[in-house]
Each structure stands twice: as structure tokens, then as C-alpha cells.
Amino acid sequence: MRKETENNLVLQTFDNEFNIVVAGPILNYDSAAFLQNLQKELSTNITKINFVADGIGQWDSSFLAVMYGVVGLAQSRGIECDISAMPQNVRDLVGLAYAVDRKPTHGGGKKLPFLEKLGKNTLDILQKTSDVMDFLGKIGSAVGRFFTFRSIMRRIDFCAALEDCGPKSIGIVSLISFLVGLILAFVGAIQLQTFGAQIYVASLVTIGMCRIMGAIMVGIIMAGRTGSSYAATIGTMQVNEELDALQTMGLSKIDFLVLPRLLALLIAMPILTILADFMGMIGGAFVGVFMMDLPYQEYWKYAFNAFNLENFLVGVFHGFCFGIIIAVCGCYSGLNCGRDADSVGVATTQSVVRAIVWMIVATGIITVICMELGI
């Protein structure tokens, strides 16, 4: 009984034995199809599989895959498998493939059933919530230590963080705020022109920038510029075992890494928000005066009339809250970073996304509170 298979592998059955005859070069062979076919052909009374060489020529990994599969199939069915007729190097490689001395001890990428996955995810969320609360609590107690002069925060770290998020951010914050004021004025002017009320562009830009836009733009810039840098710096420290070193030295990671960054942002953010408000108003004035030909003095008169201390303070308060959010999200993502390069990228992205989401949530909450208070 003889059946031809593709290329040069031939299957033969003799009573209780099964021969696989290698009758020529085996290159780019479809090993999966061969093994499927073999499983069908292998009747239950077979007790031995023999590899027989009949002019074996060139071979590649697909032949090894066939041999590896056949030896494995034979082992799983308790069938003897004789590969002694194969070239020495082929036998060595198959032996090497089966010489792995360790079995996986945990699931790897195993898919969980739906309910188990749901339960696991719920527990993960609860654990993460608890971790965040723990982190916020630690920050609270670190701030307490700072105001009672018991903190180990280094002054030089605070100064470096303040320089980074203060003076070094002025350029980008000024440019973006100027452009946002300009855009606000443009969009508003087109609508207001229809009613001949273009002079109110000054009021629109002033109220818009001071109340919320200035703070939001600074928040977004600083989340991308400073929050991500916090996450990347602290994440890299995790990869380099510097966080482990701090922990084993008994030094508080919060005092040492989080506190200087948080305090720096708490100081810088309100100041940057005021700068953004001012630059936005200049941007609006640029459009009003140079492009809509509004009288310069008239423009600023309307702008100052629209300026309201409550709006201004609400904007600054937004900036203050955003500072907390950016520092917390950046440092939390960094401290919970994994121990490889990829994790640093993930932590950096997470810090920006988390900061922006929480800034929007905070804006919503502050807006509702202000509405209730009539501010």
C-alpha cells in the first residue's frame, strides 16, 4: 500500500508500522498540511513510525518542522519513532528542539472566560482606585511634612523643577495663548460683523481667555510638556533601578520626587495662566486693531470694561487645580511604570491622557460649583 504525498515525502503503511520515506530535497514544504494528513492516515494499530532515507537531498526548516511534529505526535500517542536513518545534523536539531528543560509555569497569554475576565477587571479597577487613593494620601502627608519642616525634599530639585515649568515654559505658553486669542477674535469677529458689533470682539476675547481658555491652554501645554517629562523621567528611574535604590535607602519617593515637582507646578501654573490671559488679549487686539481696523484705544477700553476680577480669579483657580492634576498624573504614571523601555512610552502617554481627561472633569466640576455660587 503506497500513497503519494506532495513533493518528496512518501507515506507507506506495513501492518503495524508506518514509514515516512524521504525521497528527495524537502524545501518550503507545507509541514502543517503534511501533519494533518498524517493524523488522518495514522490508524490506531500503528506501533512504530520509521523515517526512511531514499535519496535525501537539500532540506530546510520546513523539513525540521515535519520531523518535530511527527516525533511529537508519536510521543503523544505512545508510538515509537525511529529517526536513525536521517542525517546526523537533522537528528541533533530535533533532539535540541525537544531538549527544552522547562515547561511554562503560568498561563502566558491565555484567554480567560468572560465572567472570569469581568471579575478580574473589576478587581483590577478596585485595586487601581485604592492605589490612587493611597498615592493621594501619601502626597497629602508629604505636603504636611513640608509645611512642618520635616520633609527630605531637596531645595535644588525644587528649583530645577520650578525653572523647568516656569521660565522655560514662558515662550511656548506665550505663543500658543497669543494664537488662541487671535483665533477667538477671528471666529468671533466674523459672527459679530454681521450685526455691526465687531467692537465686542474685545469683550469676547477678554472674558473667554480670563475665565477658562487661558487656563485650559496652559493646562494642555503643560500636560504635554511637563507632565509627560515627569512621567518619562521617573519611569526611566524605575527602569534604571533608581527608585529601588531610593526605597532601599528608606528615602520617601514622594518627598524626593513628587513634592518638588508638585510645588513647582502649584507656583508656576497660576502665573502662567495670568500670562496666557494677557497674551490672549494681545492676540485679540492684534486682530481687532490691525485686521478689523478697530480703534486701538476703543479696543482696550472695551477689553478692560469686560475684565472682571471674579472671572480672572476663577481662571487662576483653574490653573492651580490643573497644576495639581498634571503633577499627580505625571508622577503617578512614572512611579507605576514597568521596567522596560516600552513601559516608559506607555507611562508618558498615560500621563498626558490622564491629565487632559481629569482637567476636563475638573473644569466641569468647577463650572457647576461656580454656577451654584453665582460666580
Binding site: 503560568h106 534604571n240 533601578e241 533608581e242 529601588d244 526605597q247 532601599t248 535607602m249 528615602l251
Partner: protein, 252 residues
Amino acid sequence: MKNEIAIEAKNLSVGYGDYVLLHDADYQVNKGDIFIIMGGSGCGKSSMLRVLTGLIEPLKGTVIINGVDMVTAKREEVQRIREKSGILYQSGALFSSMTLAENIMLPLQQYSDYSPQTIRELAELKLALVGLKGFGDFYPSEISGGMKKRAGLARALALDPDIVYFDEPSAGLDPISSHNLDDLIIEINRSLGTTIVVVTHELASIFAIGTNSIFLDANTKTIMAKGNPRELLKNPPNKEVSEFLTRGEKKK
């Protein structure tokens, strides 16, 4: 001093969550020993070190360091023991924003009452001890890998520790630098009487410095052998230890 116990692990299980790397480990490290934790990749050597240094909690059992149970003791007591321990990480783990001297001064500033001038002098001394005299104002990015490890060792020695832990000290070093670091470890052990715990799988280092050891096995998740590495090489208790200590050369 030789027979006093520095570290004692009792019924210690190490792992992460449900995943156990090593179970029911019992061993002792005598004061003044250079104790090697060895074994193949993935056997839990570094995790064992993380348990000893308090970076992770054991799944079960306890670690007693200088008579203090590190699992149940009060935080202040654990902190006191930690202050008397130094660790050299694989990468050196120097703080990149600080100079070498500042790195070494940090633990001194936190845990000693010395004047700033004395702290600076102590930092220079520790750097000189590890062969880095005059490098105090260099940043970690300005020195080589071997020098980073030496600087990391200087920081580990800052508070005159009773025990110094080394995580793969030879990793990433050329043979000569590795040999020099081994000599330094022996010198510190001899002259300061410091107990040394080294996690490594570098055979040259194991035989050069080890006075006592445990061999961890990833398959059985147990301690498969204990004793002086040179003695274990002469009389291996089993095939696994023999193969490990002879670089897998099976007897024919």
C-alpha cells in the same frame, strides 16, 4: 564572629501574586561570609534579593536580619536594619541628576549628624576606596559602566553597612573589570568585615569570591544545594548543580 548569623531565611516562599518562583527556602548567612545566591536564569535569584532587601514581600515565611524579623518587626526597626545595609544594583542605579559625590552624600545627609564638610570628605573617601578618587564632581553619564558600578558600591558603603547586597555585579563588565570588582568585594569583606550577599551566575566570580552559597533550581523551585561553591564543584550533590558549576559539560 564567623558563626554569628547575619541573615536567616525561614520557610521562605518567593514569587509574584499566584506565581511562585521558590518555595519553603531555609538558609543562613553567617556574619563575614561572602554568600552567593546562584542558579540558572529565571530561578528567582533576583527576586530572592528583592525579598532580602525589602523591595517585595515574601509570599510566605520570614527573613531575620541581625536578629530582627523583617516581616513582623515595627517600621522603625526595619528602617534601622535597612540603614545598615547597602545595595549595589545591576546598573549601579546612580541618580542621574546628581554628581557621584552627591549620590554618596545623600544617605549620609539623611541618616547622619555629620557637618556638610565632613559628609563631603566621607564621600571623597568612599570614592577613593573604590578607586574613583577625584571623580566626585562627575555625573553618572560621564563615566563608564564599570565606574558606575564602583560608584554604586561607594554609595552602598556610605553608611558603613553590616551587609552589602550585590545584584549581578559582573553583568555588562569586561573580564578585567569584573575581576577587579571581585577583588574589591573580597577586600571590603576582609578589611571591613562586611557580610556580602551576591546574586550571580558568573562562575568565575562564584569560585573567586564565594565562601558559602545556595543553588536555586527553577524546575523544582527549591534550594537544590548549599555550601562552599568550590566544595560543591568537588562533590556535587546532584546532576543539576554539577552541570551548572561545570558550564553544562556532562560527564561522558
